[in-house]
Each structure stands twice: as C-alpha cells, then as structure tokens.
C-alpha cells in the first residue's frame, strides 16, 4: 500500500520513475534489504523452533528422544504417543471443559461489553463519567492481585468446583467495555435518533442497528477474549480440585507433574492443546492480529 502511494505521487509530481523501479526484484533494491531478510528469517526461526520441536518430539520414540547427535526428523514415526496420552487421562472431558468455559466467557463479553459500551457512548445520564472511569480502573485489579479474596468470595457463593465459578467472574472486562465504547462513539447519533422517530424500541435499535455496525470490533474482541480464556491457568488452579472440572491448561500442567518423563506423550498433549488456537489463528488471522492490535488502541 505505501509502495502504491509512492508510485502514485511520482506520477502526480511528474517525477521520472527511479531507474531501480524497473528492476524485477524491486525488494532487493538496497543492500539493507539483504540484512532485513537475514533478520526476519532469524526471527522466524526463533519463533518456530519451539513449534517444530513440540511437533517432532511428539512423533519421536522415547529411545530417540535424547539421542546424540540429536534426531531432527523423527524416525520411526511414533503416532502411538497421541493415543496413549489421550487415554492416560480424561482429556476428552478437559477439552470439553475448556471449550465450554472459553465459549461462555467470550459470549458474555461480546454481549455485556457492547451493552455497557453502548450505554457509555450514546446515552446521557447522571454519573456517566464517573462510572466510565470506575469501569476502566478495573484494569488495575488483575487476578494476580485479587486472587485470595476472590477465592474467598467464590467459596462463600459455594462456587468452588463449578462451571459458574470458572465463568461468571470473567463475563465482562473493563478493557472490553472501553474498546466497544470507543468504537460506538463513531456511530452517528442521527442514525439512532431516526430509528427512534420511526418508533423502534431501544433494545431493537441496539440489536438491529448498532450491533451489526460493530462487527469488526466484535470479532476482534471475541478472538482476543477467547484466546485469554483458553489460556486461563491461575484461576482454575485455585478453584478446581475435582477431576471432572479440570480445564486443559490445568490438566496439562498436572499431566506434566505426573508423567514428567514421558516427553512424547507430553508433547502430544501440548500439540493437541495448541491446535484450537492454531485453527482459530489461521481461520480468523486478520481478526486475531486485530484483536492484539486493538489492545494497544489509543484515541
């Protein structure tokens, strides 16, 4: 895109195109580009090595696991690690638990963050500014700070070892509200007012006019929230002691402490636990990256 713009400006300003422009390998224009490729490829190698090592080790036999010299390509291929690991513990259940918790938290955030964001962006009422700052200030109360009393509160509710205990405290998030509010500020007020004049109910306006306009923000928030929820470790570690309620991260960490030397099985489980994120990333790549980019949003 910037390159197209440069070309466009060159035409408009009647400058002769630079001689290099006609070279077939335009990207190799400068010596600096070689350096750029070396650096980028180095970063790619560092980023992917743990992935390669995880996948290849899940397929390596235990005899070859620590061979000297190192065995880069598994031979023979050991598929059994996947079957053994899956059946060593109740991983079907753990996958289901993680999926249920992550989907519920994501759905809750999509609904509640957009409702709250809509309220803060488009309605006038007493105390709105203070409420907005209060909601935003929850960003300074991370779980790492509040885990002890939150655990005591959940215990009071009798929600330890329950799905609601895993889900409800995270159904809405201050940053998500902020994100939706910023996005909704951009929706023209006239659009909402004319719908009101047409006699549409407030809820209908939200559901049928405002929400569809927020699709890009919702997708980004959804992917971001799902990733965080799938990743959640410290909270299940605190409130789950029953096997039937373990989420995948918790199960993987416990699997490691009990099967610590069965590296092939451990890597197989690691691959399976990463798979949903990889699929999500490749299907919704733009939204996934957008979800990260908006976490640095500044207006």
């Amino acid at each position: 895109m910037p390159d197209d713009l440069t070309a466009l400006h060159a035409i408009q300003s009647n400058r002769p195109p630079r001689a290099e422009e006609s070279l077939p390998h335009r990207a190799m224009r400068h010596r600096g580009d070689v350096l750029a490729y070396v650096l980028v490829l180095g970063a790619v190698a560092i980023s992917l090595l743990p992935y390669y090592w995880m996948v290849s080790s899940s397929l390596r036999t235990m005899e070859n696991m620590f061979r000297v010299p190192i065995q880069w390509i598994p031979d023979p291929v050991n598929w059994r690690s996947y079957v053994l690991a899956w059946h060593a513990q109740n991983f079907t259940r753990y996958f289901f638990n993680s999926g249920l918790v992550a989907v519920a938290i994501t759905a809750g955030n999509l609904l509640l963050c957009s409702l709250a964001g809509y309220s803060l962006a488009k309605f006038r009422y007493f105390g709105r500014g203070v409420l907005f700052i209060l909601i935003l200030s929850t960003m300074m109360l991370p779980l790492e700070v509040t885990m002890v009393p939150l655990f005591l509160i959940i215990k009071q509710f009798d929600w330890a070892n329950t799905y609601q205990g895993l889900i409800v405290p995270f159904l809405v998030d201050g940053f998500g509200v902020f994100l939706m509010r910023q996005y909704m500020l951009g929706i023209p007020r006239d659009l909402i007012d004319s719908a009101r004049i047409d006699g549409a109910s407030e809820f209908k306006i939200f559901w049928q006019i405002v929400l569809p306009l927020c699709k890009p923000a919702l997708v980004a928030l959804g992917v971001f929230t799902f990733r965080e929820a799938w990743d959640m470790y410290i909270w299940p570690l605190i409130i789950v002691s029953k096997d039937s309620l373990r989420t995948l991260p918790l199960a993987i960490s416990l699997f490691m402490s009990s099967y610590g030397t069965a590296w092939d099985q451990l890597m197989a489980i690691a691959v399976l636990g990463t798979l949903p994120m990889i699929i999500l990333f490749f299907v919704l790549q733009r939204a996934f990256i957008q979800g990260i980019a908006v976490s640095g949003l500044k207006e």
Partner: protein, 305 residues
C-alpha cells in the same frame, strides 16, 4: 383565554420531552447494570477485601484475627519476601527492556515490502498463539541438559547450560521465554502505530534526501511516541503478573531463584494457607500495578473531557 393555555401546553411538552430523556437514561442505566454488578462483585469487592484481610491472621479454618499492621511489618523483615520482590524486579527489567527495541525493530522490518511478507509475519506471530501452559511445558523440554537448545548452542561452541537446574541460570531461562512471547505481541501494536503515520511525511523526507536512519529518528520515532509509551507501560504490567511459566517450570526454585511475587502470593495463600500474609503481599503488588495502570488509563483517555 388562549394566552392562559399557552404556557401550560408548553409545560406539558417540556414534561413529555423530559420523560423521554429520562426513559432513555433509564435504559442506559439498565444495560450498564450487569457490567457494574459483575465488576463490583468480582473486582472491587475482592480488592476491598484484600485490604481488610491484610490486617488479619487467617488460615481458612480458624476465624480471622485482627493483627493491625503485623503482616506488613513481618513482610518487610522477611528475607523470602524481599527475595521475591527482587526476583520480580529483575524479571520485569530484563524481560521488558529487550522487548522494546526487538518488537519495534521487527515492526519496522515488516512495515516495508518483503517477499512473502504475510507468511513471514504470521510465522513471527506464532509465539502469541501458543497457550502459556503449553509454552512452559515445551520450553521445559527444550531446556533439558541434552535438549535441543544446548545442541544448537553447541554448534557455535557454547558449553551446555544447566538452565532450570541452576539458581544462576533459571531466572534468565524464564526471562527468555517472556521475551519470546512478548516480542511478536508488541510488534503487532507497533505495526498498527507505524501504519497510522501518513505516507506524506516519508515522501517529504525522501525528496529532502534524508537518510534512512535520520528518517527513522526524526519522523518515525517522534510520531510513534504515544504507541511507544503505551507499549512501555503494558509490557511492565504484563511482566509484573507473570505466573504460569515459573509456576509450571520451577515452582519458584531452584533455591527461590524464580519465585516472582504472584507465585509467592499463590503459594502463601494456597500452599501455606496464610491468607492475611498473602493479602498483604497483594497490596504491595497492587500498588506497583496501579502506578503503571494509571499511566495506561491516562494514555487511553487522553483528549477526553
């Protein structure tokens, strides 16, 4: 007669109008309510409780007993807590400082034309995709004495490093993972910032014959300042909260070398059942997180009324 009706009509109209805005305000409150309720119950209330519990001795079994500032005085004198605060500080400084130039550098590299740019960028992004627990498990395996990292280092003549087994290398090993994970994350944020800089600035610089370095120094860096500030604050906050990786890889060892503050809070509360002391530690962590969060919120809301 008509002049007597007039003001009444007006008043009625004004009341109707008021009624409408009131109805809307009510709707505004109503749709905000679930959010307020959840945030109050599960964010503010726990924080208030944290302060309250920090003044007590409480082990979950016996009733909480008020001991004033006892926990805080104990903590300040406790070598384990001081060690934990030191470990956290080292983790924050050394996991954060390299990330700033690395993520900005990568963003600059990807903000130009490259062959197969999208594929390369997605590859570099992959550390963000891996769940934290999986990351801890995979890196533990790679850090084995005869594991892949020591093999690769052996190619360039570096002797095997004991990584997680030695108290002098365990913390650097944990820090390295933090850098691996954070760099692509902030690269994406820097990229968004870079793409928001109007191309005209660069064209003007090119016409003036500015070198690449001076273009970067005099145009990119100043215009990227808000993004840079935000990244600085966010990286520090995230680093202060690190938990899963040291918890899974070392449980704080060897000899307390990786016992960061969140891990020490967790262990004090849920392994030693000293809730009061853990809450007092939470208050320390809260103050540290708050200082940086306030800066973050101020960046977010800059230019608002």
């Amino acid at each position: 007669m008509s002049s007597a009706v007039q003001p009444r009509k007006l008043a009625t109209r004004r009341w109707l109008h008021l009624g409408l805005t009131e109805k809307q305000a009510l709707f505004g409150y109503a749709i905000l309510f679930p959010t307020l309720a959840i945030l109050f119950l599960f964010r503010f209330l726990p924080m208030i409780d944290a302060f309250a519990i920090s003044f007590t001795k409480y082990d979950l079994i016996h009733p909480a007993q008020f001991i004033g500032l006892g926990n805080f005085i104990d903590l300040i004198q406790d070598p384990l807590f001081r060690n934990s605060a030191r470990v956290s500080l080292i983790y924050v400084v050394f996991s954060v400082l390299p990330v700033w130039p690395l993520s900005l550098g990568l963003a600059v590299l990807f903000n130009r034309s490259l062959f197969l740019k999208d594929l390369l960028r997605s590859s570099v992004f992959m550390p963000v995709v891996m769940p934290a627990v999986v990351m801890a498990v995979v890196w533990t395996f790679m850090y084995q004495q005869d594991g892949v990292l020591n093999t690769v280092l052996g190619w360039v003549g570096i002797d095997p490093i004991p990584w997680l087994r030695s108290s002098s290398t365990a913390l650097p090993a944990v820090i390295l993972i933090g850098i691996w994970r954070a760099t692509p994350y902030y690269m994406v944020i820097f990229l968004a910032g870079l793409q928001a800089i109007p191309a005209e600035y660069y064209e003007a610089a090119e016409i003036d014959g500015a070198s690449r370095w001076s273009t970067f120094k005099d145009i990119t860096l100043p215009l990227l300042k808000p993004t840079t500030l935000l990244v600085m604050v966010m990286t520090v906050i995230v680093a202060m909260k690190v938990f899963a990786v040291p918890m899974i890889m070392t449980q704080g060892g060897p000899s307390d070398a990786t016992r960061v503050l969140p891990l020490f809070i967790y262990q004090t509360a849920f392994e030693f059942f000293d809730m009061g002391r853990a809450a007092a530690m939470s208050v320390f962590l809260f103050v540290a997180v708050m200082l940086f969060s306030v800066a973050q919120i101020r960046i977010f809301t800059r230019g608002e009324d």
